[in-house]
Symmetry: C2
């Protein structure tokens, strides 16, 4: 597991996991079984970022565990709702709620998790911080809705894509770092740098995920290769290839206009992206954001936890 | 319109509607168009209950408008998510989000509304009240999940049903009254009585809705007659008929075990419910809860708004 090398963080994440599990207990037996299948199996990156960020503050505060748990539950809620959208059958190596009970159930399980997250976070954060988390949720929804309306439009610009993933993914990483920094009493500058670090890491993280969706191992990603293309979702490797390969652009526009793309055409598009260097170009963008993330960390004190952030960046 | 007879309430509800409309404005054009189709057309019962309850307090407080708007937006969110569940084509006389864009879109539009509701309410309510609204949302989800797992089980008990509708419907009415009372500075006793009134009214309201689902005019309810039975959702007229009509019980168990019920069988079950007095018996339960609601109002000062509550009870 990712955290085995960092016993202090691992120990704290176990406490966070206990809080999550305790919060997934409920009166309804079938619901509880369902919720148990959701917990575990994730990398717990977001709560880890809260915990790690809190080490830059002056004092430890037990509310940090609860805030971290609330953030992970919020993330789980968005995953459950994403699976409705993606018609995904597997998530974190387990069958999804919607593959067992259908979309109807996923909607309410996701809402239930959202209410649990708000309950946990409203107990730990002052009012104005809670507005931030509602703002983060709003961002995520706006991004998903924009993405939905942009499906099968091959001419989505890089700027639109960057804004979208900023809202969809990076905002929650930024929030995760920010809350750890805030609750541990970091000064404003340190808070700002950690938020910036979280945001830039989140951008790189999503781009990496978009590469995996194209060329990753289905066993690991849990999704069929090229699933984004199949759904008409245009991501950065696609956008960068479109810019420099006129033949790809022509083929892509043709296929996207049909709105259903055969598996053989997905492979054709993917091969073209790879051979045109679309993956390498995306890699360069990932490195650019990781560099920004490093720059944000630079002014922070050289504690052990700074190294952990650097280590995690190497996993992308 | 329901509020035409109460100019003061109507005027305040118009302010609430303005806040709702302002909050449904957003950067995304297609999303904004979608959101506009959702607003208006509802009876605004829940925000009206907040406004009316606030008249029992010592001072008016402009935050009451925002709280009322937040509550209505929360309710709209649950409607949008309900429509995924119900595969409903019409709501409030307009096509539903999911009938236009599919379930995928409904999930995010509902989440977006939830985040907006939390944003509005976190700006108006102190932290511990916000926990109440998250608690109300959690209740609603628990009830819907319980309802889902009880589908096609004709032996759902009356107690299970009453608990379910308490969580699904009555809790939000109770919250609506409670927030108006709280924000206007009502004393604890008055707050408690208004919460109790809201809860009992909500119970009666849901039972009335369950009757309408069976025998109401499709044009008004927006749903095909007997939709609950079709979906395997067992409501009070069904439960009360099952208790006293053995023939109905036999037929119901037989049909429910199939999990798909033909339209002609829905009609057969409905006719049996009507002829056995299932509707009248439900009416008696509605009256019982309305009586409880009246009892809760009794100790409150005899202001004009108390009469309005009495008038609204007569619409059920």
């Amino acid at each position: 597991m990712l955290w085995d090398n960092y016993p202090e963080i691992k120990r704290k994440l176990e406490k966070v996991e206990n809080i999550i599990e305790r919060n997934l207990k409920c009166r309804s037996k079938p619901l509880e079984e369902l919720l148990q299948t959701l917990s575990g199996g994730g990398k717990m990156l977001r709560p880890a970022f809260t915990v790690i960020s809190s080490h830059f503050g002056r004092q430890w505060n037990d509310k940090i565990y609860e805030a971290a748990a609330g953030i992970e539950i919020l993330h789980m809620a968005t995953l459950v709702h994403d699976d409705v959208i993606d018609e995904a059958g597997m998530r974190r190596g387990k069958p999804t709620v919607n593959s067992i009970y259908g979309d109807k159930m996923s909607v309410y399980v996701g809402d239930y998790l959202l209410s649990k997250a708000v309950l946990l976070l409203s107990g730990t954060l002052p009012e104005d911080r809670l507005e931030k988390i509602a703002g983060a949720l709003k961002s995520i929804c706006e991004a998903e809705i924009e993405q939905f309306f942009s499906r099968f439009n091959p001419d989505v610009s890089l700027v639109t894509y960057l804004k979208r993933i900023g809202r969809k993914t990076a905002a929650l990483f930024a929030f995760s770092c920010g809350e750890g920094a805030f609750l541990s009493g970091c000064g404003e500058n340190v808070q700002r740098n950690l938020v910036k670090f979280g945001f830039c890491f989140g951008m790189a993280f999503q781009m990496y995920d978009d590469i995996l969706n194209l060329v990753g191992d289905t066993g690991e990603t849990g999704k069929p290769k090229g699933n984004d293309i199949k759904e008409g979702i245009i991501t950065i490797p696609f956008i960068l290839t479109l810019r420099k390969n006129a033949e790809f652009a022509k083929l892509a526009r043709e296929l996207m206009s049909e709105k259903t793309i055969k598996d053989s055409d997905i492979r054709k598009l993917t091969d073209e992206i790879i051979s045109s260097g679309g993956i390498d170009d995306t890699r360069a963008w990932i490195d650019r954001y990781l560099q920004k993330a490093r720059t944000a960390l630079e002014p922070l004190p050289d504690i052990r936890e700074k190294e952990i952030f650097h280590d995690i960046m190497l996993t992308l």
